[in-house]
């Protein structure tokens, strides 16, 4: 039997507001437990929530970024369940009337083709705290610093048909939310968490199969692995004559498997109802217009602009606009570098390699964008060769100063004086008369390769500083003559 996979994702993005969604406490990550929990976050008797307008602004920004309807009126609802890290015994969320309605994002598949994925809705809600199971000797510690942190839950349509498509979609959402500055996208710190609803059906069948929900996946790699494991598991269950049961499953990255967390029967009845402590959220056209006004350039538009404005290839433009911070870096470097293509090569080449090797995020890059641009400018104006530039870059990375400072300190300025280069050429030819004879008697189509020997010798003598083009030209002339 041929099986088709059907996947829908729910993505919880932590909004990058300074304070919580219903209290004034800080949302900063990593503070001492319970130092960022106010009376409201602790769910003390008699406290009331007050909505953070900035969280609304961010939700609207997302809605407009994916071309979705922003609801003029949405309603906060209580989702009731007991858990120790849920201080009020309910989570304030949105249920029947979410702030963002349906929209669409385009995902790019591996073969370069694109495909639309529907976003059903996105709603605002508060995060829960954390239960700490270590260090308490058979007891559980509760840290409510995260309680009340604003989340935007983005729910997709069941439009994806493979783990790869799901990953492409998740990456697209990640790109959008980080581009528009509503989420820091930090997956290790839990700022971007994914739940995948996975089911299979015989190819050609219209109805969906029974789905399993894979909870709390915090990396794209795990998302792909978890879905692939789950699909294989479901196929096996059905082909063995069994039935997939609707349940929540947890992906265990260490064992690379999913396992049952709770079945539908054990699922909570959340008893949603409109939160009487909060008025319906009303968003007027002026507010939306203000948000649109402040909207940064979106990734797709920026990619197209990189192609047209900088003359970059589609591939280069796509890579460089992969993240907003990388695109910003490139643009800043290109401004001082003066050569977009060369700058692009450096950002995607040596810089990316160094970042990758050292495991550093581009946000923490030790070489500032303007400094990289200056290095590119020095290649352009022939102060140094591309080869020497690699050494200069390494020194810059090591903190030895700007391109000019390194060139100066190490005496790496390129030799472009024709007389000086000619002297070097003459020296090398004189010292290698046998090779000169060989060259001259060789087959013309073998000569270019043999030329490399002389170039190498000359560059060595000049400590790499001789302008390679001039060296080549002079050599060809003298050897030919």
């Amino acid at each position: 039997m041929q099986w088709e996979t059907v996947i829908g994702l729910e993505i919880h993005t932590q909004l990058a507001t300074r304070s919580k969604i219903f209290s004034g406490s800080s949302t900063a990550f990593g503070a001492e437990p319970n130092t960022q929990a106010s009376l409201i976050d602790l769910g003390m008797p008699g406290v009331l929530p007050v909505l953070n307008k900035e969280a609304v602004r961010m939700a609207v920004r997302f809605g407009k970024a994916i071309g979705a309807q922003v609801a003029e009126r949405s309603v906060f609802a209580r989702k009731n369940y007991f858990y120790p890290d849920l201080p009020k015994g309910y989570q304030i969320s949105q249920y029947e009337l979410p702030v963002v309605g349906s929209g669409v994002v385009e995902i790019v598949l591996e073969d370069g083709s694109t495909r639309p994925v529907g976003v059903t809705r996105a709603h605002l809600e508060e995060d829960a705290g954390k239960s700490l199971h270590e260090d308490f000797h058979g007891m559980t510690g509760i840290d409510l610093n995260r309680a009340g942190t604003p989340l935007l839950e983005i729910v997709s349509e069941p439009d994806m048909r493979s783990a790869k498509e799901a990953v492409a979609y998740a990456k697209k959402i990640h790109q959008i939310v980080t581009y528009i500055g509503i989420c820091d996208g930090n997956m290790q710190e839990g700022s971007f968490r994914m739940d995948a609803n996975v089911s299979i059906r015989p190819k050609g069948q219209a109805e969906f199969g029974t789905r399993a929900e894979l909870k709390n996946i915090n990396s794209f790699r795990f998302l792909e692995k978890a879905i692939n494991f789950e699909v294989a598991r479901q196929i096996e269950v059905i082909e063995d004559g069994g039935k997939v049961v609707q349940e929540t499953r947890l992906y265990d990255a260490n064992k690379d498997e999913t396992r049952s967390m709770r079945s539908k029967e054990e699922a909570n009845d959340y008893r949603y109802f409109p939160d009487p402590d909060l008025l319906p959220l009303e968003i007027d056209a002026a507010f939306i217009a203000e948000v649109v006004e402040g909207m940064p350039e979106l990734p797709d538009a920026r990619r197209e602009r990189f192609e047209s404005e900088y003359g970059l290839s589609a591939y280069d433009a796509d890579v460089l606009t992969g993240s907003r911070i990388q695109a910003d870096y490139f643009e800043a470097a290109a401004r001082t570098g003066g050569d977009a293509k060369l700058t692009a090569n450096w950002v995607m080449g040596d810089l990316a390699a160094a970042l990758n090797k050292e495991g550093v995020d581009i946000a923490d890059c030790p070489v500032a964008a303007a400094d990289l641009g200056l290095l590119v400018a020095r290649i352009r104006d022939n102060t140094i060769s591309g080869k020497i530039a690699k050494d200069v870059f390494a020194a810059m990375w090591a903190g030895e100063g700007s391109a000019d400072q390194v060139i100066e300190a190490k005496g790496l300025k390129q030799i472009t004086d024709t007389g000086a280069i000619e002297a070097l050429v003459d020296e090398v030819l004189a010292a290698n008369s046998a090779q000169v004879e060989n060259y001259r008697s060789a087959d013309p189509d073998k000569q270019p390769k043999m030329l490399g020997f002389f170039v190498g010798q000359i560059m060595k003598r000049s400590q790499g500083k001789a302008n390679p083009q001039q060296v080549n030209e002079l050599l060809r002339r003298k050897l030919g003559g």
């Binding site: 003390m44 008797p45 120790p84 109802f273 909060l278 008025l279």
Partner: protein
């Protein structure tokens, strides 16, 4: 001195006839003498009261006193009070000390009022007799074998017995007005949103409202002026200026149209209470008011709708009392489930559990539409009824409660009969309107409450009508014989 109203005490304080310290000391002494019988206070904050009284005396001496400066009052124990125990009448919060002040408490403190302590109440404000309190029932000073009403029974009894000049209360379905009626005092439930709910332990958030309990309409105006106002910490509080309630007290009521709700004057109303209400209406007519009949055709649905909405909200509001962060926790929990079950089973009393169960059921999957959603629709119908009624009249007047104070234990085993205590008051909460109870002539020596219902934010008019009636009568001046 203890028989004086706030308005009278304010003059006495200003004129130096008495200091706030003397007054406060005297009131604290009265609490000691009488509260063993009444059980109206759960906490007496003697040191704090005397310190506040001294500060008030300084303010009075400096000529910076307001009308409430130095006036001894009490707060219903539903209001959070900084560094003072706040129990909400429940074992669940036994020994809980609040880390902050409710806005209403802070507002009254800023106005210079002196807090004598915290008053007893039905557990989490769920009850109409003050018998559901973990701290024991409160007795009615008019007849200590009877209940004072609830849930603000402690505040009502304390004000009626002259243990404090005024007290705060809260009203979700009648919890200020019904005890005010049963103890012969004046109680006002303002328009929903007029007083901040910040720091007021929630029972049913869409219905709860704080208000004053006093011995005159004038005092209620003085108290409400300090309590009311927009609060940015309560999203449901009204962003509109507070009217000059005291300034509005002087208008004659000639020509004021008094609406009589025909559905409120028939079956189920005690004959004595009916006669008393009629006497009050006659007096209003004598003062020049015009009586018009109005109808609230959906009023009969208010009790059932209320007993869906209020329990639904309470089932969620009380989920935070889980034994994890504060409040009662069972000993040696086996596991999480055991911690929840035993802490909540031990911490909550029978009435609270009953309402949590009702509310959980009403919100559960498959029942939500039939109960919660339908009840919300009924609420809208009731609000529409009132809107039509207020097109024909300015103030609605009728009985507050169907009878006078009943005996302790009389309705304790019959929740439905207890729930019907609020048959005339509940519709007002469902619509979010202001309502007031003031004394009408007594029936068989027991107080009767006259309910006045106003349009939204029409507290000033309500207070004035009540004040005009009180200027012309002495019903509100009657005091329980053993406590004068």
């Amino acid at each position: 001195m203890h028989n004086k109203t706030i308005a009278e005490l304010s003059i006495a304080l200003r004129d130096g006839q008495v200091s706030s310290t003397e007054l406060t000391t005297q009131m604290l002494q009265r609490v000691k003498t009488h509260d063993a019988t009444l059980n109206s206070f759960v906490t007496v904050t003697e040191d704090l009261a005397l310190a506040q009284a001294r500060a008030a005396d300084e303010r009075i001496a400096a000529g910076a006193a307001g009308p409430l400066t130095g006036i001894p009052i009490a707060h219903k124990d539903i209001f959070c009070t900084l560094d003072v125990r706040t129990s909400c009448g429940s074992r669940m919060l036994e020994g809980f000390v609040s880390p902050y002040d409710a806005t209403v408490v802070a507002n009254l403190q800023r106005a210079g009022a002196v807090m004598l302590g915290k008053t007893n109440m039905d557990e989490f404000a769920m009850g109409s007799s003050n018998e559901t309190s973990y701290y024991g029932p409160v007795r009615n000073p008019w007849d200590t074998e009877t209940v004072p009403g609830g849930s603000s029974g402690g505040s009502a009894a304390a004000v009626a017995a002259r243990l404090c000049a005024a007290a705060t209360g809260t009203d979700t379905g009648g919890s200020i007005r019904q005890p005010a009626a049963l103890t012969g005092i004046t109680g006002l439930k303002p328009t929903y949103g007029r007083c901040s709910r910040w720091g007021m332990i929630a029972f049913a958030s869409s219905l709860d409202q704080a208000g004053p309990m006093t011995r005159s309409a004038e005092d209620a105006a003085l108290m409400l002026a300090a309590m009311a106002g927009f609060d940015e910490r309560d999203s449901t509080s009204a962003q509109r200026p507070v009217d000059d309630y005291v300034g509005a007290l002087g208008s004659p009521i000639k020509g004021v149209r008094i609406g009589i709700v025909k559905e409120f004057m028939g079956e189920g109303l005690d004959a004595g209470v009916g006669a008393s209400v009629s006497a009050a209406l006659d007096e209003l007519t004598r003062l020049g008011a015009e009586l018009v009949e109005v109808s609230l055709p959906n009023a009969g649905l208010s009790v059932p709708a209320y007993y869906v909405v209020a329990p639904a909200e309470c089932s969620s509001n009380l989920a935070r009392f889980d034994g994890v962060r504060y409040g009662h926790r069972c000993t040696d929990p086996k596991d999480l489930e055991d911690l929840y079950k035993r802490s909540r089973s031990e911490g909550f009393g029978a009435e609270v559990k009953r309402r949590i169960m009702i509310g959980t059921y009403a919100l559960s999957a498959g029942y939500y539409d039939a109960y919660y959603l339908k009840a919300q629709k009924v609420r809208q119908l009731i609000a529409d009824d009132f809107r039509r009624a207020f097109a024909a009249c300015d103030v609605i007047v009728g009985p507050t409660a169907p009878g006078t104070a009943f005996r302790l234990g009389e309705k304790a085993d019959d929740p439905v009969s207890m729930y019907l205590q609020d048959i005339y008051t509940i519709a007002v909460n469902l619509a979010g309107l202001p309502g007031m109870s003031i004394p009408a002539p007594a029936s068989d020596g027991m107080p009767v409450g006259l309910q006045l219902i106003g349009n939204y934010f029409d507290e000033a008019r309500l207070l004035n009508v009540a004040h005009q009636l009180q200027l012309a009568t002495d019903w509100h001046r009657q005091a329980p014989a053993d406590f004068v």
